[in-house]
């Protein structure tokens, strides 16, 4: 049997909006992924540490506070510092289109904006994990 994809769903920073994170976490679980949810108010270092401990393939970051340009690149960096260069990092939330190229060049593989069906994120992860 194929090994299940392990995903850490995380909320970086002080943002309390977790409806999206929880809906996505549940959709990932229904899609057959193993899902760990960090809860609110995680620093990039805490997220990277959790990703390491849980040995995940994917870190999915949900952020609606506008702090994405600071916190998403910092999370990528914190993962690299722990030798987790192969982890797929994706983001979602209220993120203006013009910020997305910068986030991608900082190592965020894909950014899902409001209105994206959860199935799109599931398919993206399935086709990109282990690449």
């Amino acid at each position: 049997m194929e090994k299940k994809i392990r995903v850490l769903v995380a909320k970086p920073g002080l943002d309390g909006h977790d409806r999206g994170a929880k809906v996505v976490a549940r959709a990932f679980r229904d899609a057959g992924f193993e899902v760990i949810y960090t809860g609110l108010r995680q620093t990039p270092e805490q997220i990277a540490e959790a990703a390491l401990q849980e040995d995940v393939n994917v870190v999915a970051l949900s952020i609606l506070s506008g702090a994405h340009n600071t916190l998403l690149p910092r999370t990528v960096l914190a993962l690299k510092e722990r030798g987790m260069d192969d982890v797929l990092v994706v983001g979602g939330g209220v993120i203006p289109a013009e910020d997305i190229p910068g986030l991608k060049s900082a190592g965020v593989a894909e950014v899902f904006t409001p209105g994206t069906p959860t199935g799109t994120a599931v398919e993206y992860i399935r086709s990109h994990v282990g690449e």
Partner: protein
Amino acid sequence: MSDDQKTIAQDKERWYKAQVEKTLARFPERKEQFTTNSGMPVDRVYTPADVNVNYTGDLGFPGEFPFTRGVQPTMYRGRFWTMRQYAGFGTAEESNARYKYLLNAGQSGLSVAFDLPTQIGYDSDSPMAEGEVGKVGVAIDSLADMEILFDGIPLDKVSTSMTINAPASVLLAMYIAVAEKQGVPSTKLAGTIQNDILKEYAARGTYIYPPAPSMRLINDIFAFCAEKVPNWNTISISGYHIREAGSTAAQEVGFTLANGLSYVRAAMAAGLDVDTFAPQLSFFFNAHNDFFEEVAKFRAARRLWAKIMKEEVGAKNPKSWMLRFHTQTGGSTLTAQQPMNNIVRVALQAFAAVCGGTQSLHTNSMDEALALPTEQSVMVALRTQQIIAYESGAAETIDPLAGSYYVESLTNTIEAEARAYIDRIIGMGGSVKAIETGYMQREIQDSAYRHQRQVESGERVIVGMNKFQTKEDAPKNLLRVDMSVQASQAEKIKAVKARRDNAAVAAALAELRIAAQGTANLMPPILAAVKSYATLQEICDVMRDVFGEYRPSEEF
């Protein structure tokens, strides 16, 4: 059922056989089942046989128990609702300019949005604040920032609502201190602090301390304001965020009133007489997409709260029975796709709030699924309220939808469903227990997930998003918060710390610590600390130290 109702019910039966069956045989309806936005079944047509209303007992008159028709005897014929746009970003200087812009445009009250570090009791120079300073609201670190925020705004003339919860006591103290410097006594101040910690645990996330000390802080604010700030709404018990997190309309009412009842019980247990603080309680609801369901929701909430306060709690003052509320249109209903469509959504939602008898209203801006709103889009949102007020006719009579068989039926149903939730929560031992065990959160998340599945299956249509899509260019001209805010705030904190009397600060914080360890009212020492220019975080850290921090268990 009355004889009249029996006759009508029989006639409805006849009509069904004579007309509906034949039509259905040739033209089936669009759906097998029709429901409200929240999933309540909707019948084909409503008649007097479908709704039991005792006019005097269930509806009554505006300004009288059970307040179904409104809390004031003349409602908008006397004065329109307060048009209050939630605003704030960047520095106190920038937000002060936005407030003056809104007041000049005819807005009647202020509503302050604080950034997340402020809402969670961190100064702008804290490592926890990295990237968040000035983003979703204004950064306030000390009284010095608050003085700038309200510079040139006469606090005896405007009413100010502040969306602040865990550190509500500190921001209220800062407001009182600024007013004092303007020569305005605290007895003249009008406004609201959100101060609703229960929904922070359940849905919004900006908690600091565990439930018990948080409830104590709220009691202290109730007691302090009853005496010193009598025209202040000491709490805004909020269903808004519960709904935004995904709840149904009935859950919004049920959980919010259950939380309200928990605050009332806690304050009474602390020795406060209900009629001294209950008239200062206020509420905050969402205005969502289903117009009739929303109007019914507001009416049901008023009636249910009045019954609870009068009949269960035993409050004697009619002001204690009144559910006065602010409304904001539903942020989660806005789409990033075809953002101009959001203007129409907001207009319908705002119209529901007005037909439902709101006391104040915030209309969302069209670009809020993308970023903080620009001045131009905020102006359209404010104009939407003014058009409803001056042009729609909805403000000329009170509770215009009363007597609609459908609306009265929905009002009864929502009241009954909300009541069932409240009874369940009382059975669990109150809201704190229902939140600690994750009951409210699970109910909300289940509703949110159901909604998402319906959207993705196409069962629920969202125009421009999962139907009628068009190819769009990426939106331009979004508001951007300058990244230098964090650095400039850090400089300001340094300057404040350099010029204040640091011995006085240390003494004030020591006083606060002693009060926190004991049982004295915390407001006077917090006010003293604020006036000494202690920073928000210095004050909150003293209480963090004494009270500890709340750590939820996370489920999904």
